[in-house]
């Protein structure tokens, strides 16, 4: 890869600012991301924490789930001469940081934030996780040939839910499915009537896109009103903390999944899990995002030298082995082409544990090139 | 003179950091009506409130020999002090009966007496006190103090804003009450004072400037003029300590 090589040699440490939630609503995601990153760094640098003799000087900082804080901190780091920024699970923060990256011409590798908007947003922004489109496309793999099928999207009426609905329309609609949506106000607390509405629509598949605390009540309502008895239901499997949210419905739901511990079985995954367990953590939904971010940063530094343009060039089109298998940074829009999983929950002791059903090929769920 | 029921020595009172009662000393004998007099703003109400602990105070206050200046208000009242506040302060949202019920302590031996004294109230027991006329409210306020067995009544301007006829009625009620319990009375109406009071304590600038028998004071025009009379400078007495006519013990 063409690195705009640098004269200063390998002595000065490379400063990297990691901005993610350490407190606030997404603190748990932040923790998983951070642990994954440490593991990835260890893996990519063979435990040295240095690239070709250059130290990576990593600063972690808390965005508190608040874009203002994140932007202030990003400006602070950029002002101090940081050229590499990464992190955050919050889509709102990711887009704000992407904006800063463009204005200030620094490299930004967004974290677990799923919004499709980050893909192709500008030349300086990459992502280390999956995006909504990939979730949706994975859901589509549950109904075989979508043509002529009726898919109902049950989602919250917010960016996440709307994004998913749009995604399903784009992905499955394009393949001939008949897609409609039951969108529920984000603050609604009563889902019983909506469960009725789903039943009334008589779909072949229900795709549920739900985040946040109300999911428990939502699943209970679907269960109580008998949705699972009549139609297959697909949703994304969240992090470990949410395994209990599905209640009695757990066994009846088909899950699409970005990652859960043990899903991949790759060497990188083994290395990651070993590193995590050593540090008293366990693999979780967003561990690979941190891992990938570390790999990408190491690649950017190793191949890109000291200029941001060089780093961008080093990352664009790069294919590498990671936790989930082979991953490609698509050159055109920086989408991260990666495999996804189908899973189910099985009873394990007092709780529930995920079990792999199938691995979905990276190309099958690759998003179309953004902005085309 | 009988044993004093209330002894106040070197009482200071403050409202919002401002000194409103300054080194006041006097006593209330165990029978009859003692009038607390003084021009507007000299601190009569504040003195009574200090005695009751309704405002910040320091100094020594004894009720029948017992120190009460460190007690919270409700304890003082429970020791047998009835209070009729300056602006009636009846509970407008409660009925007359509820107002009275609230005031009753123990077996409230004054119930009969109150019923005899204010037949008008008995007829209005179920009416909300807020809809009573000013005079009737004053009756409720007095009745609240009279239902209990008290050792002392503190009554603050009971005739303020009342029609002349009602003023008479209130004075009658107080006279009847005074037969049973000593009263410390703040009053502006000299007719009422003349009729009820046996002794006077006169305040000026937050201090006691005169104590003595009522008749002697009221008949001394010069004294009345000096302590209650027309002055256009209020600040003066507070600054220069006037010599007391009769040194408070």
């Amino acid at each position: 890869a063409g690195g705009g090589g640098d004269a200063d040699g390998g002595e000065t440490p490379v400063k990297v600012a990691m901005i993610t939630s350490q407190t606030g609503p997404l603190a748990a995601y932040g923790a998983a991301y951070q642990a994954g990153f440490e593991a990835g760094l260890d893996y990519a640098t063979d435990g040295t924490g240095a690239v070709d003799g250059r130290e990576l000087d990593i600063s972690w900082d808390d965005d508190q789930g608040n874009p203002d804080t994140a932007v202030s901190k990003a400006k602070d780091y950029i002002g101090q001469g940081y050229r590499i920024l990464a992190g955050t699970a919050a889509s709102g923060i990711a887009t704000a940081l992407a904006e800063q990256a463009e204005q200030n011409e620094v490299l930004y590798i967004s974290g677990p934030a799923a919004t499709d908007a980050v893909t192709g947003i500008n030349d300086y922004t990459f992502r280390s996780g999956r995006q909504t489109y990939q979730d949706v496309a994975t859901a589509g793999t549950f109904i075989g040939d979508p043509a002529g099928k009726h898919v109902t999207v049950f989602a919250q009426d917010n960016a996440f839910g709307q994004g998913n609905f749009a995604g399903v329309e784009a992905v499955l609609g394009a393949q001939g499915a008949n897609v409609d949506g039951v969108l529920v106000a984000e603050d609604a607390t009563e889902f019983t009537p909506f469960a009725q509405q789903i039943l009334a629509a008589k779909p072949d598949l229900v795709f549920v896109a739900w985040a946040g605390a109300s999911s428990g009540a939502m699943w209970t309502s679907l269960q109580q009103q008998g949705v699972f008895d009549t139609v297959p239901v697909v949703t994304g499997l969240g992090d470990v903390a949410t395994y209990g949210a599905y209640g009695e419905a757990s066994g009846s739901i088909s899950f699409l999944n970005h990652y859960f511990g043990g899903a991949a079985g790759t060497d990188a995954e083994k290395a990651m899990i070993a590193h995590l367990e050593e540090n008293g953590a366990e693999p979780d939904l967003f561990s690979p995002d941190g891992f990938v971010a570390a790999q990408m940063i190491v690649q950017a530094v190793r191949e890109g030298g000291d200029t941001v343009d060089g780093m961008i060039a080093a990352l664009e089109g790069w294919t590498f082995d990671s936790v989930k298998g082979e991953i490609t940074v698509r050159a055109e829009d920086h989408a991260l082409i990666q495999p996804m999983y189908q899973a189910k929950l099985v009873q394990q002791g007092d709780g529930w544990a995920p079990e792999l059903v199938d691995t979905v090929d990276a190309e099958t769920v690759a998003p179309p090139v953004a902005g085309e | 003179m009988s044993e004093p029921v209330l002894t106040v020595s070197h009482l200071f009172g403050r409202i919002g950091g401002q000194q409103v009662v300054e080194d006041v000393s006097f006593e209330v004998p165990g029978t009859g009506v003692t009038a607390l007099l003084g021009r507007n703003g000299v601190g009569k109400t504040s003195t009574i409130k200090s005695v009751l602990g309704l405002i910040d105070r320091s100094g020594e206050v004894r009720l029948a020999g017992e120190r009460i200046d460190r007690m919270p208000t409700h304890r003082i009242v429970q020791r047998g002090v009835g209070y009729v506040p300056e602006d009636r302060e009846v509970f407008g949202g409660l009925t007359v009966a509820e107002n009275l019920r609230l005031a009753e302590r123990g077996d409230a031996p004054g119930r009969e007496f109150v019923a005899r004294l204010f037949p008008d109230l008995v007829a209005r027991l179920a009416q909300r006190a807020g809809t009573l006329s000013g005079g009737q409210q004053q009756m409720v306020s007095l009745a609240r103090a009279l239902v209990n067995e008290n050792r002392l009544l503190l009554v603050d301007e009971p005739t303020k804003g009342l029609a002349p006829k009602i003023v008479d009625e209130v004075a009658d009620a107080l006279a009847a009450a005074a037969a049973a319990v000593p009263i410390l009375l703040v009053e502006q109406n000299l007719h009422v004072i003349r009729r009820l009071a046996e002794r006077v304590v006169v305040l000026s600038g937050g201090r006691v400037v005169h104590t003595g028998p009522a008749a002697g004071f009221l008949d001394d025009e010069e004294l009345v003029q000096r302590h209650l009379g027309v002055h256009d400078d209020h600040a003066e007495p507070a600054a220069s300590a006037p010599e007391p006519e009769e040194a408070p013990r």
Binding site: Q22, T23, D62, Q64, N66, P67, D68, T69, V71, S72, K73, K75, D76, Y77, I78, G79, Q80, S91, G92, T95, A96, E99, Q100, Q103, N104, T115, A117, D157, N158, A159, F160, Q162, E186 | I15, G16, G17, S46, K49, L54, I55, D87
Partner: protein, 355 residues
């Protein structure tokens, strides 16, 4: 006092050219973008608090909807820049036009909300303003027609924004803009408070009926104060939008209004510069407490201490309770307190003894 004020403003103005370092308070020397960003942010919050204080402290209008106008400024500017983006006029004209359009929008919104909300008083007023703000907040999150960006916020469309205001290296300019806004808001507030209308507003806060029987209609004066405060909030909001290169729905929530209220009280309701103090102290605390919460010193403590102390909001909330309890005049009231030993709170009504 004016001389001291001028001196202070001058000192603040040259700050970006100096290298003053206050470890533990500022993230770095004063010329660094990070510090300037933090200070600029603090000054905008101070300006917002100042506008709120005028309404709450002067006119006694307890609004739970002030965030709406801040958000109107921020989002208004953002949407105006988006809307004008395709136009073929010169960039400067579009930028100024967007600002003017936002001001007009803020004015219209403030007049409408104020005219309605001021028909009621007290807690009802607080709740009507809350209702409007809540409606605004819900709308912003619903992202009607893609105009507000919903949860993800509205990014700054830089096409027509002067280059001098873009990028970290220009944070200094944004700092000056923020300082300018703070000074402007201060002067307007000062002017209104010292004007006859300000005195009437103060009197109406004390006893509205009395004002009416004197022959003055308090409604007009209160509406005026409400509108001025709201438009000033919108001005601060525009500054915020430029500084942050975007707006997030958080700034339209009732929580944000409560934060402003907290700031005003923390600083001292009775004092104009209390709001400024409050805004700056709050912002710095908010920042620094996060650093403290994540520090090793705290990580080493036993759980009973570590858990609460590692939550910045816990410390802030507790601190706030303590200030209200033990420092009724707020930060700005400390000097007066020291002088008089014991001061009555300026907001406090006549004591109960007089009732």
């Amino acid at each position: 006092m004016p001389a001291a004020g001028l001196l202070l403003v001058a000192a603040l103005a040259v700050l970006p050219l100096l290298a003053i370092d206050i470890p533990g308070v500022l993230p770095g020397p004063t010329y660094t973008p990070g510090t300037l960003q933090l200070l600029a942010y603090a000054m905008l919050i101070a300006a917002l608090a100042l506008s709120y204080r005028m309404m709450f402290g002067l006119a006694g209008l307890l609004s739970f909807g002030h965030a709406l106008f801040f958000a109107a400024g921020a989002y208004g500017l953002g949407m105006a820049l988006d809307a004008f983006a395709p136009a073929a006029w010169p960039s400067e004209a579009i930028f100024l036009g967007a600002i003017a359009a936002t001001l007009v929008f803020g004015l219209v919104l403030a007049t409408t909300v104020g005219a309605l909300a001021l028909r009621v008083t007290g807690i009802s007023f607080a709740m009507v303003t809350l209702a409007f703000a809540q409606a605004g907040s819900v709308l912003i999150r619903r992202n009607p027609g893609g105009a507000t960006g919903g949860d993800e916020g509205l990014p700054l469309d830089t096409t027509h924004v002067p280059d001098a205001l873009i990028g970290v290296m220009n944070t200094r300019n944004l700092y000056w803009v923020a300082l300018g806004i703070l000074v402007f808001v201060y002067l307007v507030v000062l002017w209104v408070e010292r004007s006859r209308a300000g005195h009437v507003a103060e009197a109406a806060r004390e006893n509205e009926t009395r004002v009416r029987v004197l022959g003055i209609r308090p409604y007009g004066v209160k509406l005026l104060v409400f509108i001025v405060a709201s438009v000033l909030a919108a001005v601060a909001g525009m500054g915020y939008f430029l500084l942050q290169s975007g707006a997030a729905p958080r700034i339209a929530t009732a929580d944000f209004t409560l934060t402003i209220l907290v700031i005003v009280v923390l600083g001292g309701v009775g004092y104009r510069w209390g709001a400024i103090c409050g805004g700056i102290v709050y912002t710095l605390l908010d920042q620094r407490l996060t650093a403290l919460a994540g520090s090793d010193a705290i990580a080493g403590l036993p759980a009973v201490l570590r858990v609460p102390l590692s939550e910045p909001l816990f410390i802030l909330g507790t601190l706030f309770v303590l200030v209200v309890l033990f420092l009724p005049g707020g930060i700005a009231g400390i000097p007066a307190r020291l002088r008089s030993g014991r001061a009555q709170h300026p907001l406090e009504k006549e004591g109960a003894t007089d009732a």
